[in-house]
Every structure is written in C-alpha cells, then in structure tokens.
C-alpha cells in the first residue's frame, strides 16, 4: 500500500514537472521579448526541474544517490535565477527595450532599435 502510494506520488510529481517544463517551453516560444521569456525560463523551468528531481529522489529512496538529487535541486535553485538575471541584465546593458502591450514592434525590431542606438553591428571589433 505504502509502495503504491509512493509510486502514485512519483507519477504525480513527474507529471507536474512535465507540465511546468511544458509551460516554460511554451513561454519561451510564445512570449514577445527577451525579458518576458527570461521569466518562464527561470521560473517555470526551475519548478519543473524541481518536481521531476523530487520524483527521482523519491524513487531512489534513502541513500547517497537521493542526497545527490537534493544537491542537484539546490544548485539549480541557486544558479537558475542568477542566469536569468545575468541574461536580462545583459539585454538591458545592450539597450534592448522591454516590450509593452501598447508596443506593436516585434522582438526583431526591438533588437534593431537597440543596435541603432549604439552604433550598430560590431561594437567590439575596433577596440584594440
């Protein structure tokens, strides 16, 4: 009985993990600009990974391997938001404007606009 319950929990966790990863993928594909995409990339994905890894830890039972899973979880939770922050900060540094609802430009236009503001194209080549 306990075993069945455990298996059922694992299944539910895997499904939840898949669902949130699906959400994250959909978000990255659908959302209009790099900032909004960074949202789902850092969050839904982290949660999806969290659920799935929890399922794995549960399946592996008590032992070194499941400690490792917990460590995986910890590192993902620490590093993923940092990565998203780094990416969005980079976008901001480059001058890419966030898209808003009353903005009818596409992400490509926003990118072009940001390059227009600086000097376009290669900004590092003439550095040396």
């Amino acid at each position: 009985m306990i075993e069945r319950l455990r298996v059922a929990t694992i299944l539910v966790l895997v499904l939840l993990g898949l669902f949130f990863t699906f959400v994250s993928t959909t978000g990255v594909l659908r959302l209009p600009d790099v900032y909004s995409r960074a949202h789902t990339a850092s969050q839904a994905d982290t949660l999806g990974a969290g659920f799935t890894l929890a399922a794995v830890a549960l399946a592996l039972g008590w032992g070194t391997t499941s400690y490792k899973t917990v460590l995986l979880l910890f590192f993902i939770f620490v590093t993923n938001p940092t990565a998203a922050h780094a990416i969005s900060r980079a976008a901001d540094e480059e001058g890419i404007e966030p898209w808003t609802t009353d903005d009818d430009r596409t992400d490509e236009d926003l990118l072009d606009a940001s390059q227009m503001e600086t000097d376009g194209g290669d900004r590092r080549g003439d550095q040396q």
Binding site: D33, S36, H39, A44, Y67, K68, H85, S88, D92, T101
Partner: protein, 380 residues
C-alpha cells in the same frame, strides 16, 4: 595652475600614506597649498548583517582622519605654515553602493569647497567591493572643471576582495562545508574518503575562504541560516502560487500579458541580503530582477498581479526576517513607503503616476525611505 585646490578621498589602504605624501607635495609645489582629505562612508560589505542605520564607526574614522592630518603636517615639514589641511567625513547619511554614488558625493563636496583637482589613491576603495577605481575615475572625469589624477605611489600591493588574507574562522567554516559536501558525495565514511576529503577541504578552505566570506561567520549567521530554513517554505509557496498564475497566462490562447519595467528600492542592505531578495524575486514567477544597483532593484514584471505582489513587499519582509530578525518584518510595504515606480507607464493615463514622462514624479518621497531605515534600526 598655481591655484589648484586638492581633494583627496582617503581610506585605510596600504598606499594611503604615500598618497598623502604625494598630495601634500603637489599642494606645496604648484598649488595654493590647500588640501582637503575626505573619508567616504559606505556600507562596508563586511557589515552586511547589520542594519546600516547603526551609527557608523565615528570614532575610528575621526582617528583615521587625525592620523592623516598628522602625516600631512609631517610631510609639509618646515613649510607647514603654507599648508591648509581640512578633513571631512562624507556619505554619512546615505548608503553609497556604486562608484557613481561615491563620485557624486565627492563632486558635491568638491564643488562646495571650490576644489578643482582630485588626487586618487590607486588603492582607494571605500568598501563597496568590486573593481572600483576605474569606474570612479571615469565618473569623476565626466564632471567638467575637475582634474583627476592618480597619486604616484610605489609598491602598489593592490588589495582586491580576492587577495586579503582569510581568518581561521572563515577557513574553518569553509573547511567544514567542503568536507561535509565531500562526504555526502562519497557516501561512505571510509578512511580513504576522510583523508582525501580533508585534503580537498583544506585546499578549498585555503583557496576560497576569502572569496566566499567577507567576514567571520558568527552565531548570528547561524541564526540567519535557521531563519532561512523557515523562509524557504514560504518562498516555495509563493513560487508555486505565482507559477500557477503565470502558467495560466502563458497557456491562455490570447496571451494576456502586460509586461512593465518597474523599480523598487528595497529596505535591505548589503550583498547577500540584496542577492537573496533579487533571486527570490527572480524565482517568483511574473517578476524578474533585471538590474541591481545597490538596493535599487529594476524588476521586470509580466502580469499586473505579480506587480502588485512585488509592491506589497511580501518577499522583502521575508528577507528582512532572515537577515534582521523577526521584529524587522514590521515594515511598511514598498508601495506605502513610496519606494516603487513603474518605469514604462502606459500611454493612457491610467495610473496616478501620470501620463507625463519621467520628470513628473522623479523624486521619491525621502521620508518614506528614511522611515523604513529607522524602522530597521529599531528592530535590532
């Protein structure tokens, strides 16, 4: 240029003595003999666990400045009479985080005292951390009518955050963490693992103690760790709740998003608390911290609900709870403190922020911010 008046920001660096000497020489040589030494207070990263509303170490800085004056008189020698030395402490009431902040304070003070030349100690860093001098020089140089020069000091033993020596407590704490991690990886407590684990942990402790810790970990940090454990479930709950919201928005056929860039000035100070808050904000769906300048967070919000949640400051309270204790949670929300702002106001004049651009509400309500500070101070 015979009428140059010098401004010299000083801090306790290995080369400050030489800087003073060089400044005095310059002052007596081709200037009118006026030197103004200033000490810029800033939230020393080593004090990040405290609410920086506590009085800065007045006594120490006064002593330090007195020492600088004595040095300057020494260097002047028999021409002491020609030399005018002034000292001042700056940035006392503000919390300076970036080179720009410091540059601004220096420029303000310099203009007030009619200074036209800044002599920089090549090692100068008022404790903001991070590579500092180059950005500061850059910022100062942007201000017209102010010459910036580096004092020609010998033996530039540069002290970066990575180089200062580590203390036994730091190394010990890191040794413990590293050793524990190693044993978890190994799984068995065999002699081989214990020996190699000890060797590895020693390497890690010696190599990275200064990278990981700014200060000695204390019992207070143990308390913070415990409170962090309490905070995590709350964070997890927030993440889950918001994730469901955002998932609904993303899977919705019409994609009803309303992204806006916002700015929040958080009532937390120092590297670790701000990072914890920024990462918590990033982890919570719908909000993403884009820039962190000092305690001013630029946050991209995806949906209005997330924006409201951010302005209500639940996470900020949580982080304050972790780092400053339970009492510090009683704080007005960022919205009530007037510490929030939507950077991309919609074209239609919906919000009170108005349909006009930035200038309108440019200034934040200072009392709001200060109220938050003193609140934190009381809580200690």
């Amino acid at each position: 240029m015979s009428d140059d008046r010098l401004l010299v920001p000083v801090a306790d660096t290995p080369t400050v003595r030489q800087t003073v000497e060089s400044a005095v020489k310059t002052a007596l040589g081709d200037s009118e003999g006026y030197v103004r030494f200033v000490y810029v207070h800033s939230p020393d990263s080593s004090r990040e666990e405290e609410d920086p509303t506590v009085d800065p170490p007045v006594k120490e800085t006064t002593e330090f400045l007195n020492r600088v004056v004595v040095w300057a008189r020494d260097d002047a020698g028999d021409r002491e009479g020609d030399l005018t030395v002034e000292t001042a402490r700056l940035g006392f009431d503000d919390y300076l985080f970036s080179p720009e902040d410091v540059a601004e304070v220096l420029i303000e003070d310099g203009t007030a005292h009619d200074v036209d030349r800044v002599v920089l100690d090549p090692e100068y860093d008022p404790g903001v951390g991070a590579p500092f001098l180059r950005p500061l020089e850059y910022e100062l140089a942007k201000f017209p009518g102010l010459d910036v020069e580096e004092a020609p000091v010998q033996a530039r033993a540069r002290r970066t955050p990575l180089l200062a020596g580590s203390t036994p407590i730091q190394a010990g704490a890191l040794f413990f963490v590293s050793f524990a991690f190693y044993q978890v990886l190994a799984g068995t407590l065999e002699l081989f693992d214990v020996v190699t684990g000890a060797v590895s942990a020693t390497i890690v402790a010696v190599g990275l103690a200064r990278v990981t810790f700014h200060t000695d970990p204390t019992f207070a940090s143990l308390g913070r760790t415990l409170r962090l454990v309490v905070y995590l479930p709350y964070l997890l709950y927030e993440i889950l709740k918001a994730n469901v919201q955002v998932a609904a928005v993303i899977l919705h056929p019409r994609l009803p998003i309303d992204p806006r860039l916002t700015r929040v000035r958080a009532a937390v100070w120092g590297g670790l608390p701000v990072t914890t808050l920024a990462n918590s904000i990033t982890l919570t769906p719908g909000t993403l911290s884009v820039r962190v300048d000092g305690r001013t967070l630029t946050v991209h919000t995806l949906v209005p609900a997330a924006r409201e949640g951010l302005f209500d400051g639940g996470l900020e309270r949580g982080v304050r709870f972790v780092f400053y204790g339970r009492d510090a949670m009683q704080i007005a929300s960022p919205r009530e403190r007037n510490d929030t702002r939507v950077l991309q106001p919609p074209d239609e004049a919906e919000t009170t922020d108005g349909n006009d651009s930035e200038g309108d509400v440019a200034k934040l309500n200072e009392t709001g911010g200060d109220g938050a500070n003193s609140n934190g101070g009381d809580s200690r």
